[in-house]
Symmetry: C2
Subunit: 223 residues, 2 copies
């Protein structure tokens, strides 16, 4: 079995339809997919039509936090409304003998729920910390605290991890037996996100090297 | 200037609001972002709520093609309705001296429009070819033609590239002058998607090595 679905809620839209034999319930799987990501895609309905925005995010327990400019219309459009946040990792290109059996290996989490603009200052700060730490673990504590002006300019959106599904595909292509002898190369091209050498800011004074948390981030790549 | 917006249509939702001084109109920029991608996120409205699906895609001229199982409800929900397709490349983590100035370098394209399930057989085949070729250029012509049964099991969705916007951020962090002397390392961690060595299918007979188009794909990485 190379595709695994995890439905973390019994709702109609997260119930697994295709390949339902592969369904399982595992919150750890949801956390793993979310925690390995750097960018999510936030879906909101704006004037009746869907809008899909790429944005950073972080997780604290069973709450997802997204942030953006306080001037961002889509964040405000999400406040009090149903949204969908999807995190996807492309793990490989699956090359089969026939076009139909081509696929990709991936891990994907879809979270549904009502988003809220966070108004509590302590939660806003915790949410912003989670977003920064998601991208670069260990970074937040090396920085000065945000100013009031900076906090006002930033909106934080929260989304409970109550209704979600996870889908994971791994392994080789699934060709029909009749196609196996076609003499065509088949297999997987593994894909991963990697970091190159850090590019210091042009304004950085001499003598300030990349700190441990930056070197750890580069080494870890995406998990 | 490190963030560049491109609005390819004069509509309300693609008009650039923030950093509008960076707006430009350039269809080549849209093509470049789309053509460099492997996965898009399709946003549809299902029962009044947004759903964001990761899926493969391809482009022929000014039409985007997506495909999926004919049993996929979201594809059918998109037919004749407004959708949003977003393609995002994460190019780097931007580490500033303060949390507020942290960012990511990225290229992103958002396409809005009315999607259609393609019914014409020739266009369906061309769309499927475009999706395969987007992932692995040169692959399609090495494969046998899809059977009628395979074609029936696959739905192809088309979306015109009429209304779209592109956003690109590059370069170092933008700290305030007052924060430059904080003694904190700042800079960019460049991120890229790379391919590892191909993993041959376990059922591959001996003597069939990875063909040129596979080796070219690995070498090219994501552009």
């Amino acid at each position: 079995m190379s595709t695994r679905y995890t439905a973390l809620s019994p709702t109609e839209r997260t119930r697994v339809r295709r390949h339902s034999e592969r369904a399982q319930t595992d919150r750890a799987e949801l956390y793993a997919v979310l925690d390995a990501g750097m960018i999510c895609h936030l879906g909101v309905v704006l004037n009746g039509s869907p809008v899909v925005l790429p944005t950073a995010y972080g997780r604290i327990g069973d709450t997802l936090y997204l942030h953006g400019s306080s001037a961002n219309r889509s964040l405000w459009a999400a406040d009090g409304h149903e949204v969908c946040v999807t995190v996807t990792h492309l793990d490989g290109l699956v090359c089969a003998r026939v076009a139909f059996a081509h696929s990709v290996n991936y891990r994907s989490a879809m979270v549904f729920g009502t988003a809220r603009i966070v108004t509590d200052d302590a939660e806003r700060l915790a949410g912003l910390r989670a977003v920064t730490e998601q991208l670069i673990p260990g970074r937040w504590d090396t920085l000065r605290a945000p100013t009031r002006k900076e906090l006002v300019a930033t909106s934080v959106l929260s989304l409970p991890l109550a209704e979600a599904s996870v889908k994971v595909r791994t392994g080789p292509p699934h060709d029909e037996d009749a196609d196996l002898g076609a003499g065509i190369w088949a297999g997987v091209l593994p894909a991963t996100v990697t970091f190159g050498n850090p590019v210091p800011d042009p304004g950085l004074p001499p003598g300030i090297g990349a700190p441990d948390h930056i070197r750890a981030r580069i080494k870890a790549g995406t998990r």
